[in-house]
Symmetry: C2
Subunit: 367 residues, 2 copies
């Protein structure tokens, strides 16, 4: 139980400023109104120079004395109040618990403040955007977690966590890795390898790949959750670590890489804090089956969904680089996708002993 006596945080001040809007408007008998940036494709663009998917400047008003907006306005105030409570008490929680915390039946009515979580989640996103704070700075965590090993030392709740001394299991990445919760005390790695799947991370950790190549191994056991992406971003920015992304050779692998690199359309407002425009794709590439002599029978036939998705990717602005067009078109032409697991067809340690060493030596990656 944290009982730090702490100063009002920047985030708390931002949340209080919302309450001030309501009070000031009431004082002057005016309609309280918030300005909320629009979170829609129409307000999202790819900033080619920065290599980031960003949000534009369009805003919408939300006011209390408007039949269509009154409920959403009330909900916004309720959620802001719960978020202030988290700040004051220095606690973190989940989206779901925010929903439960703010749900009640309005006095003398059968009306609930919120009927389902899909009403409270967008309000939290509204507040993230309006206050220009990450969800994690609002102390709201995502659910997934990840694992990390390698030459990096964290400070967590006063403990010194040395990720080079945690066996093959490693440190369990918390969902909130903001500096107030997780300090990066020391990092002597040369690069960071962000591994999509747990299987390959296990292989590399078991083989102590990180020791031989002086790197950090990080995984979210699947599509990297926010905490994992944010940690990669912090290590990249604060310690200038190059980041390499290791994913399957399929449209979903490409997509995961692109989200790590330039952010996503849905979360465009967070790209600045989460995306890593210099991240490199180390594979699997559609050139690898030939280069590494993988038998065709370990390829998996592309299904209709794969093909449709690959064609979509071909049109994305951030996949317009010639090398990427070649990469995606070669996959489509072969009609096959390959999982990293297929490297085991050669040898259980092929990834550790052949594939990655050669990739790194030949600097064979896509940007």
């Amino acid at each position: 139980m944290t009982t730090k006596t702490k100063k009002t945080t920047v985030v708390e001040k931002k949340l209080i400023s919302l309450a001030d809007i309501v009070i000031h408007a009431a004082d002057r008998s005016k309609d309280p109104t918030f300005q909320i940036p629009i979170r829609a494709l129409s307000n999202v663009f790819f900033n080619e120079k920065k290599g980031l998917i960003e949000m534009g400047a369009k805003k919408q008003e939300r006011s209390f004395f408007n039949v269509g907006m009154a409920k959403r306005f009330m909900q916004t105030v309720l959620v802001a109040d719960a978020l202030s409570e988290l700040q004051r008490a220095d606690l973190t929680t989940s989206l779901r618990e925010i929903y439960y915390r703010t749900k009640h039946t309005i006095k003398d009515s059968h009306e609930n403040t919120f009927d389902a979580q899909d009403e409270s989640d967008p309000v939290i996103e509204d507040l993230e955007v309006s206050l220009a704070t990450l969800r994690e700075e609002l102390h709201v965590s995502a659910e997934n977690r990840g694992s990390i090993v390698g030459p990096v030392v964290f400070g967590d709740d006063g403990d010194r966590v040395d990720c080079s001394k945690l066996g093959k299991g490693g440190y369990s990445v918390p969902s909130i890795v903001e500096p107030e919760y997780l300090e990066i005390r020391r990092c002597t790695a040369d690069f960071l390898l962000l591994v999509e799947k747990g299987t390959q991370w296990n292989r590399l950790s078991e083989d102590k790949f990180w020791r031989r190549y002086n790197c950090i191994l990080l995984t979210g056991n699947g599509q990297p959750p926010r905490g994992v992406r944010r940690l990669a971003c912090r290590l990249h920015e604060e310690h200038r670590l190059p980041v390499y992304v290791l994913v399957d050779n399929d449209p979903w692998g490409y997509y995961i890489y692109s989200v790590v690199k330039q952010g996503s359309i849905n979360l465009a407002f967070e790209s600045q804090r989460m995306a890593i425009p210099k991240a490199k794709f180390v594979g699997l590439s559609s050139a690898d089956p030939e280069r590494y002599e993988l038998p065709r029978n370990v390829g998996i036939k592309l299904n209709e969904k794969d093909i449709a998705r690959a064609k979509e990717l071909l049109n994305y602005q951030w996949f317009q680089k010639p090398a990427w067009q070649v990469e995606i078109k070669r996959m489509l032409a072969s009609g096959l996708k390959y999982e990293l697991d297929a490297l085991a067809n050669k040898d259980f340690q092929y990834l550790t002993k052949k594939y990655l060493p050669r990739k790194l030596k030949e600097k064979d990656w896509l940007d």
Copy 2:
């Protein structure tokens, strides 16, 4: 890269004994035949005395000179060979990689040894049962992972991992926690709390609940994966830790608890090594909404699937205890299920400060 010079392991010997069967039969010009225990409901029973779902003694033969069995026989030998390779090299891998490793096109034919992973997975299960070894002892890992904090010290790859000094993030539980991979060096906890969901585990870890109640907090971030269950089982058996299970109040929560406690029908052959017959259910119970004054509006209406599943559970032999019949029938009568997250409706720290302290003090659990 592990380069221990190691003795032939017990498991390796068992795998070699399969090859011996083939060689001996060939020497005597006989049909090589394995005896494989039957993994089907007809060969599963609930051992009331032990409180375990166990496998019966029925076996089937698998022989080579039998048109219907030849392919499966060949596959069994291939997989056994790959598993021997893992033992010799002291490596672990995943089910999926075993599939890729053993897949090839048979010479002068278009026939693959395996066409899909659903052909190799059951062969691995056959071998687990036949050789009476856990999948993890065969060095095959599950994919999911978990997190652990509290007064327990592990030895992992020569590192001393003290889970009371890893902040709130904790140690990332490896998928294989057999003694050869993970040593329990010291454990001074009074009990283990197995938490279904990451959200509640985060809450308890952040609040240092484990310090105040001298316990271990373990989660698999959802239905506990094999590694998490096995670790709970080892801590229970080797250090006599009572195990309490914290799940949602719904049929799936009950089911998760029952799998932790007495194993599952599908994996009956592993109950001896994975199940914890003395595990207790600390909630959420269907009595809790009233006892802890949770408002009805945070309950979720049972849907048809919930109701059907709850009725199935009522008929299971291991839910025949009167207290369990009352528990499940009360949920059905109320028409509502409750998530642990709903406790946040009272207060973000209600779980840590009120719910669990009272549960433990009143010994209010189900057996």
